[in-house]
Amino acid sequence: MRRTGTMVGVGLLAASLLAGCSSGASDGKTRITIGLFGNFGYQQLFEEYEKAHPDIDITDRTASYSDHHKNLAAHLATNNGAADIEAVDVGYINQFKANPNQFTELKSDIKDRWLDWKWEASLSKDGKQIGYGTDIGGLAICYRRDLFEAAGLPSDRDQVSALWPTWEQFMATGKEFAAKAPAGAKFFDGGPTVLNAIVGQAPTGYYDKSDKIVVGDNADIRKGWDLVAQGVADGLSAGLLHSTPQWNTGFKQGQFATLACPAWMMAKIKDQAPDTAGKWDLAAVPGGGGNWGGSYLTVPKQGKNVDKAVELATWLTAPEQQGKVFANAGLLPSTPSLYSEQSVATKQDAFFNNAPVGRVFTDAARAFKPQYQGPKAGDVQTEIGNAMQRVEQGKQSPDESWTQFVRDVTR
């Protein structure tokens, strides 16, 4: 027995070494690798593409959000190991486009497919396009119908939307909810999530157009900060930081009744808490319109099949394919020609009580006024999230925490 064990071990080792050596598919096909994070809704598209192109074999590898971007950075730095196509989130696109030479420049003749701001956000300072847009994060509010009913609030989505044209009214609704809320349920998931949505709506974000960090003097963001901090003080927050395991558990346990919901968040809710199907619904976001997140497909220069990779990336991000992704995964297209198309505009989602996701999100995307993102907007977002968490954890007063945040990001 022991000997067979060793033999199997040696065999596995040899096999893995061999696998490590052989690059490219052995059956004469060209293998295109694609590095993703989270859920892009591409699986069916890959099969479709492979059927139409018998010489192509698509292999995808998916990692978590931060692992994916850090691996990509390491692979670009060492000029080795990147996939033929690499997805990049808008939170990281500025850091990557600062070094456009790492990426294949993509053609600009199809620029009209995308929303202007989506196109410009991945354009380098010297005018090179490093990535074609996939989805955008049009904003809405996801809410739990059952918890709203239990707290004596209306649960119909139009009535709910009418409760909060502004964030002040959103917080006021929160207080009403808290007065009669079921045990263990708070109004929103955590301060950082709400704050991200509010920041995303401001005309100016963390940076001005000359790449200077101006958040310290940004009255809109400070107003949002004070509002959310007050909400936290009023006990409206479940104190969970988004994208953490505790937050994931919060979905299953029904710890919060509302959630700032970019379109991609809906796929996340379905993944995290399949049991809550039908309990969720979708209302308009206070303040009207907004964007949080969204991604790009880039083609690193170091790849061996750059031309075929560009072809695939172009195909995946074309309006037709974005429409299919919206249909099966709910990611909001970045190509506005789809917004007026019947299949998109009238789409409903059964998980969210047949909410008209097509209408809600395309309205949000149309109402969105683009905001300039500076070079390290992602880092600043992390810091403001930390700052709000310090308030939630009772470590600092809102003023102290804000002062430390501004000092940290301008240092």
């Binding site: 390491a74 070094n99 030479n101 953490t244 977002q381 992390t382 968490q389 009772g394 470590k395």
Partner: protein, 306 residues
């Protein structure tokens, strides 16, 4: 002539073959150890973006000057590293001694227990950390549930400095105690029984035998374990990183309350892409590790037989 040639070859063999035998190690070390060290030292004297090595500029010791004189978060990270070093290394050695002593007795299923203590060490550190992060969860963690059962309040483990250090130290201690215990156990079995018999005749009880005979006789192993544990705990990364996963994982908590030096390095190198600065942190960490290891070596050496 022929014998002369043979003889000469024999002499060469004796003289040079040992170098050939140890050469593989030194070759590997110079490629995977020495070269990266020196290269890191070179990068640490540059203002260099991770993605754009060509645009790097030489700035001498500026990174070091900034770290040592103008970066409070570097000192914060160093402080956390020292605190975690103490909280992990000391209990680890003490628990390991205790467990080794227990395993040294005649027990039923001795081999089972001896192998069992090593199990935490061979499980994946990521899996361990994720499980522990669940145990230490604020709302649904098992530990808070138990605390509440006994009337103590809930603790937001990630929020506080002391609480987060305790939780992280628990993961490390759980993982490494068994490993050290086995090393201690092996040498305990080499202590001649006659020494204990003599002590018993002189009227020494079990406790006295343990502290006056066992521990002093284990001195070389305790020194070894202290040095190994120190070197490992000074570069603690995975535990604090995975204790608080999510977009802000690199900062080690909302106020960097459990950001270790290695995590600070990681933040600068792979989140902010500041390769030069991260390399300077790496070298300062090397220096600190050598210093602390030296100190703990001196401390462990003070164990003596009377």
């Amino acid at each position: 002539m022929k014998t002369d040639w043979r003889e000469r070859r024999h002499r060469w063999d004796i003289r040079y073959a040992p170098y050939a035998y140890i050469a593989p190690y030194f070759l590997l070390f110079s490629v995977f150890g020495l070269f990266p060290l020196l290269y890191t030292a070179w990068v640490s004297m540059q203002d260099r973006n991770l993605l754009d090595g060509d645009a790097a500029t030489f700035i001498g010791l500026d990174n070091y000057v900034e770290l040592l004189t103008a970066d409070p978060y570097f000192w914060n990270a160093m402080g956390n590293t020292l605190s975690l070093w103490l909280l992990t290394t000391v209990p680890q050695i003490l628990f390991a001694l205790g467990i080794a002593q227990l395993l040294n007795r005649r027990l039923r299923g001795r081999t089972f227990f001896r192998m069992g203590v090593l199990l935490p060490n061979i499980t994946s550190v990521a899996a361990v950390t994720i499980v522990f992060a669940q145990l230490f969860g604020r709302d649904f963690g098992l530990i808070n549930w138990a605390l509440e059962l006994f009337g103590a309040g809930r603790i937001d483990w990630q929020a506080g400095t002391a609480s987060s250090h305790t939780a992280i130290a628990a993961m490390v201690v759980w993982r490494w105690t068994g490993y050290h215990a086995l090393i201690f156990l092996a040498s305990m079995q080499a202590i001649p029984t006659s020494v204990y018999e003599a002590a018993r005749l002189d009227g020494a009880n079990g406790w006295q035998q343990f502290w006056r005979i066992t521990v002093p006789m284990l001195r070389p192993q305790i020194i070894f374990s202290t040095v190994i544990a120190t070197a490992g705990n000074m570069r603690l990364l995975a535990e604090p990183l995975l204790f608080n996963p999510g977009a802000g994982a690199e900062t080690g908590g909302s106020d960097r309350q459990f950001q270790t030096a290695a995590l600070y390095l990681y933040e600068h190198g792979f989140k902010k892409f500041d390769f030069g600065y991260a390399s300077a942190i790496a070298w300062l960490l090397v220096i600190a590790t050598v210093l602390i290891t030296g100190l703990s070596y001196l401390a462990a050496r003070r164990i003596r037989t009377d």
